[in-house]
C-alpha cells in the first residue's frame, strides 16, 4: 500500500514540476537559513567545560569608591591585586586560581622564525587541575614554582608544533621577553568555547600559546592585556598595577557542593565587611558568586547579531512554510475531482489523508535534504567571514539530527493542514460538479 501511495505521490508531484520545485526550494531555503544560524548559536552558546562548569565559580566584590555609586550596582567584573591575593591565599575552595592575560614577545631559537608576540596567560598553579587541562607531555607547575617565581612555562600543542615540530619539548628552553624559560609541559587539545575564564580578550578569541606563573610574569613586568578598570586617580601605569586602585585580574574557584557555595558567599561577605570596617572598601559590602553558566549568561557572550540572525531565520522559515502550505493547499484542492472519484470508489477518508500527507512528506524530506546542503553552504560562507568566532561554525551530529527533525516536522506541519482540508470534501458534490 505504501509503495502504491509513494507512486501516487510521485505522479502527483510530477504533474506540476515547476510548482513542486518551488515548494521544495522554499522549504529548503527556510530550513537552510534556520539551521545555519542555529548551528552558529549552538556552537557559541555551548558549555565550555562539560561536567565541570557547574562547580566553577567567579567571585565578585566591590572595592570601588563612592563615585557614581547607586545601591544594587553590579560589582566590578575583575578583582584587584590585593583582593585577588587574599582570596587566593585563603584557600576556601578545593581549587582556586588568580590569573590575567597578556602578550609576550617570543624569540625562537631558530633563526628561520622571526620573533613574534605570543598570546599568554599568567596564572597560579591551580588553573590546570581546576579546569581539567589535558597534557600531551610533562605536567603543570605546582605552588612551589608559583612561590619561587620560577622561570617555567607550559606551552600549547600549536606552539609546540610550530617551534619543535610536535616532538616532546619538555626540558627545552624558550626565550620570552629576553628571559630563558624552561618548558615543563605541553598541552593536549584544549579549546573551551567560549573563552569563559577571561572574556576581555574576545569571547571566542585565539587561545593562549604560553602559560606563565603569575608571580613570575609580574616579576618580569610582562605586559598585561585585557580590560583594566580604575577609579579615583588610579592611573593604569602598567608597571605598578599592584599598588593602583584598578581591577585587572580574574579569580576562579572550584566549589564542589551547595554547602561550600553558601559558605563561600558568606566568606566573601565577611571579607567585604572587614575591609569596609577597616576603611579600605568605601561602598557597603556587595558580592556576587556566579558559576560558569550564570557568568556567561550575565555577560551575554553570544554576539547579539548572532541572536538577531537566528530570529531573522525563524521569521524566514515561517514565511517559507506558509508559502508551501498555501501552494500545497491550492494544489490539493485542484485535485478535488480525482479525490472525489477515489472517495466514491470506496477509499476511506483516512486513506486519502495518508496519501496526501505522504505527498507533502516527500516534499518536506526533499526540502530537508536540500536544506541540509544549503546550511552546509551557509556555514562554509560564515567560516569565510573575518569575525573571531567564524572558524568555529561547524555542524555537529546533534545539529545534523536537529536539521532532519526540523525538516520532517516542518513538512508534516505544511502537509497536515492541506491534506486535512482536501480530504474533507464531499464526494458526491465533486462528482456532480464534473
Amino acid at each position: 500500500m505504501l509503495v502504491y501511495y509513494l507512486d501516487l505521490a510521485f505522479r502527483g508531484l510530477k504533474r506540476n514540476r515547476v510548482l513542486t520545485a518551488l515548494m521544495v526550494l522554499a522549504v529548503a531555503m527556510g530550513i537552510g537559513a534556520c539551521m545555519t544560524t542555529f548551528t552558529v548559536l549552538h556552537v557559541l552558546s555551548g558549555d565550555p567545560l562539560p561536567g565541570r562548569s557547574g562547580s566553577l565559580y567567579y567571585p565578585q566584590i566591590d572595592p570601588r569608591d563612592m563615585e557614581s555609586y547607586t545601591s544594587g550596582v553590579e560589582p566590578p567584573e575583575q578583582v584587584t591585586w590585593l583582593d585577588g591575593l587574599y582570596l587566593l591565599h585563603a584557600r576556601r575552595g578545593s581549587h582556586q586560581a588568580l590569573m590575567t592575560g597578556g602578550m609576550v614577545p617570543l624569540q625562537p631559537a631558530q633563526s628561520s622564525i622571526d620573533p613574534f608576540h605570543a598570546n599568554a596567560r599568567y596564572t597560579t598553579a591551580d588553573f590546570f587541575p581546576m579546569f581539567g587541562v589535558p597534557f600531551q607531555y610533562g605536567s603543570a607547575w605546582s605552588q612551589a614554582e608559583d612561590d619561587s617565581k620560577a622561570r617555567v612555562v607550559v606551552i600549547s600543542s600549536a606552539l609546540n608544533d610550530k617551534l619543535f615540530g610536535g616532538k616532546n619539548s619538555v626540558g627545552k628552553t624558550i626565550r620570552l621577553q629576553q628571559t630563558d624559560f624552561r618548558i615543563i609541559g605541553v598541552l593536549g587539545d584544549w579549546r573551551p568555547n567560549p573563552h569563559f575564564y577571561d572574556l576581555y580578550m574576545g569571547a571566542y578569541a585565539d587561545y593562549e600559546d604560553v602559560y606563565v606563573p603569575l608571580f613570575t610574569a609580574r616579576d618580569l613586568s610582562m605586559d598585561h592585556d585585557g580590560t583594566t578598570d580604575c577609579w579615583g586617580n588610579g592611573a593604569s601605569d602598567p608597571q605598578h598595577l599592584e599598588q593602583s586602585s584598578c581591577t585587572w585580574l580574574q579569580f576562579w574557584v572550584q566549589l564542589d557542593n551547595p554547602a561550600s557555595v553558601t559558605a563561600y558567599k558568606a566568606f566573601l561577605q565577611h571579607y567585604s565587611e572587614d575591609q569596609h570596617a577597616a576603611g579600605r572598601f568605601v561602598r557597603p559590602p556587595n558580592v556576587r558568586l556566579r558559576n560558569v553558566t550564570q557568568w556567561l549568561d550575565f555577560k551575554q557572550v553570544v554576539p547579539s547579531d548572532t541572536r538577531l540572525q537566528a530570529w531573522l531565520s525563524v521569521g524566514f522559515l515561517i514565511v517559507c512554510l506558509i508559502n508551501t502550505v498555501g501552494l500545497m493547499l491550492a494544489k490539493f484542492m485542484r485535485r478535488a475531482g480525482e479525490l472525489g472519484v477515489r472517495r466514491a470508489l470506496g477509499a476511506s477518508r483516512r486513506a486519502l489523508f495518508g496519501q496526501l500527507l505522504l505527498e507533502s512528506g516527500v516534499i518536506g524530506l526533499a526540502g530537508g535534504v536540500l536544506g541540509l546542503l544549503l546550511s552546509l553552504l551557509g556555514l562554509w560562507l560564515i567560516r569565510q567571514q573575518p569575525s573571531d568566532y567564524a572558524k568555529l561554525a561547524h555542524m555537529d551530529s546533534l545539529m545534523l539530527l536537529a536539521t532532519f527533525a526540523l525538516s520532517v516536522v516542518a513538512s508534516m506541519l505544511a502537509g497536515l493542514l492541506p491534506a486535512w482540508r482536501a480530504c474533507r470534501i464531499a464526494p458526491a458534490l465533486q462528482l456532480k460538479a464534473q
Binding site: 522554499a26 508559502n323 498555501g326 491550492a330 573575518p386
Partner: protein, 411 residues
C-alpha cells in the same frame, strides 16, 4: 471596478486567502524591520571620523623586553620617520581611531557631581592633531611647552603631585555641546578622576573615538591631551602623507623602524582606510545578510503569489470564458486579477504593519534599538504592492488570453 464580486469569490477560498495574507503580512513586517536595521548599520558605517583618512598610515609596534631609554628612542624614531620623503607629519599615539579597544575616562563639569556627565576617549601623543588632520574650529592647539611625558604623569599621580600634571585639553564640538549646551566651552574646566581640573583650550570639529562598543555612547566624545608617550603597549606610529604615497611611505617607514632597532615586533600596519573597513566589517556583514534575507523573502513571496494566482486562473478557466462570452473585455479580466491581488496585498500590509510594530518593540526591548521611524512602513507597503502586481501580471495576462469559446466546451 466593482470589488464586490471579487470579495465574494475570495470568500470561497477563505483558507488559501488567509494563508496568502499571512505570508504577505510576515514578509512586510520582516522587510520593514530589516530595512530599518540596514539603515542603522549604514548610518553607523558612515560615522564621520574628522580625520584625513585617505592620507594616513599606521604601524603598531612592541619592544622585545623593557627599554630604559624609551623616551630617547621614541624621539629618534619620530625624527627618522619625518625624514622619509613624502612624509608630511608623524606622531606616536596611544590609540588610533577605529581601534577595537579604547581608553576612556569619566568627565564632569563640577568636581562634586556624583554621576559623570559623559565618558570620553583619551588621545595622547605629541603632534597628534596635526598628523590626524583634525580641524580646530575654536581656540588653539597645544604649545610645545605644555607637553608632559607619560612617565611623569604616572609619577605625579602616584605621588599626588597634581601640579605636575598637564593643565589643558582639547575636546570635540559634540562633547562641548553635551557638557555645556549652548555655551562657549573655551576656558571652562572639566574634572577628571577625583576632581582634577583641566582647562579646555580648543574645540575640534570631529574626532571619532575608538572602541567597537563605544560608538553608541557618543561617537565623537574624544579628548586630546598634551602627553608625550614612548612606545608603550598598544601605541602606534601614525604617519601622514599624500594618498598616492601611502604604500611607499609605509614600506620605507617599517624598514626604517626595523633598522633603527631590530629588537621589536610589528604587530599591525596598514592604511587608515583599511583600518576603518576592518572596524565596520561586522556591520557590513550584517547589512549584507539582512539585505539577502529581504531579497529571499520577497522572491519566495512573489513566487508564492505566482503559484497561487496560476492555480486560480486555471481553476476559473471556464468562468473566465463565460465572462468573456458575456461581453467582458480582456482588460476587464486582467483588471479583475490585478485588483484581487491588490486587495489581498493590502490586507496583508495592514496586518504586516501591526506585526512590524510588534517586532520593533521586541527589538527595542531585547537589542536596545531605537524606535523605527514611521517612514519605513510606507516603504515596506510600496515594495509589497509592487512585488504583488509584478507577480500577478503573468497569470493575469494568461487569464486575459482565455478565449470566450472555452465557455462552450465541456470539461
Amino acid at each position: 471596478m466593482d470589488i464586490r464580486p471579487i470579495l465574494v469569490t475570495l470568500r470561497r477560498h477563505k483558507f488559501t486567502c488567509c494563508l496568502l495574507v499571512l505570508q504577505i503580512a510576515f514578509t512586510c513586517a520582516i522587510v520593514c524591520n530589516a530595512i530599518f536595521l540596514i539603515g542603522q548599520r549604514l548610518e553607523r558605517m558612515r560615522t564621520p571620523s574628522g580625520i584625513a583618512e585617505n592620507e594616513l598610515v599606521y604601524i603598531q609596534m612592541a619592544d622585545i623586553g623593557n627599554r630604559p631609554d624609551a623616551k630617547a628612542r621614541a624621539a629618534e624614531d619620530l625624527a627618522a620617520l619625518q625624514a622619509i620623503p613624502g612624509v608630511k607629519s608623524a606622531a606616536l599615539v596611544d590609540e588610533l581611531p577605529f581601534d577595537m579597544g579604547s581608553d576612556n575616562m569619566d568627565v564632569r563639569t563640577d568636581p562634586n557631581q556624583r554621576m559623570a556627565t559623559l565618558s570620553a576617549s583619551q588621545y595622547f601623543g605629541e603632534g597628534l592633531t596635526k598628523t590626524l588632520g583634525v580641524k580646530l574650529i575654536e581656540g588653539r592647539d597645544f604649545r610645545p611647552e605644555e607637553f608632559v611625558d607619560l612617565s611623569d604623569v604616572y609619577t605625579a599621580l602616584a605621588q599626588q603631585q597634581y601640579e605636575k600634571l598637564p593643565k589643558t585639553t582639547l575636546i570635540t564640538r559634540d562633547m562641548a555641546e553635551r557638557l555645556w549646551p549652548g555655551q562657549d566651552p573655551l576656558g571652562k574646566q572639566i574634572y577628571v578622576g577625583t576632581g582634577l581640573p583641566f582647562t579646555v583650550i580648543g574645540v575640534l570639529q570631529n574626532l571619532i573615538r575608538p572602541g567597537q562598543d563605544r560608538l553608541e555612547l557618543g561617537a565623537q566624545y574624544s579628548s586630546v591631551w598634551p602627553v608625550r608617550i614612548p612606545l608603550v603597549q598598544g601605541a602606534s606610529f601614525l604617519i601622514r602623507c599624500a594618498p598616492q604615497d601611502r604604500e611607499q611611505v609605509l614600506k620605507s617607514a617599517v624598514d626604517k623602524l626595523k633598522a633603527l632597532d631590530p629588537n621589536r615586533i610589528v604587530l599591525g600596519k596598514g592604511t587608515m582606510e583599511q583600518h576603518r573597513r576592518d572596524f565596520f566589517q561586522n556591520d557590513r556583514a550584517m547589512a549584507g545578510i539582512l539585505f539577502g534575507v529581504c531579497l529571499a523573502l520577497l522572491v519566495v513571496t512573489a513566487l508564492g503569489i505566482v503559484g497561487l494566482a496560476s492555480f486560480w486562473v486555471a481553476q476559473r478557466n471556464r468562468s473566465i470564458g463565460v465572462r468573456r462570452a458575456l461581453g467582458a473585455t480582456r482588460g476587464n479580466i486582467l483588471h479583475y486579477f490585478q485588483t484581487e491581488n491588490f486587495l489581498l496585498t493590502t490586507m496583508g500590509i495592514v496586518l504586516g504593519m501591526v506585526l512590524a510594530y510588534g517586532i520593533n518593540l521586541f527589538l527595542i526591548v531585547h537589542y536596545e534599538l531605537p524606535r523605527m521611524p514611521a517612514m519605513y512602513l510606507p516603504i515596506g507597503a510600496l515594495i509589497l504592492w509592487g512585488i504583488g502586481q509584478v507577480a500577478v501580471l503573468g497569470p493575469a495576462l494568461r487569464a486575459a488570453a482565455v478565449p470566450p469559446v472555452v465557455a462552450t466546451r465541456s470539461v
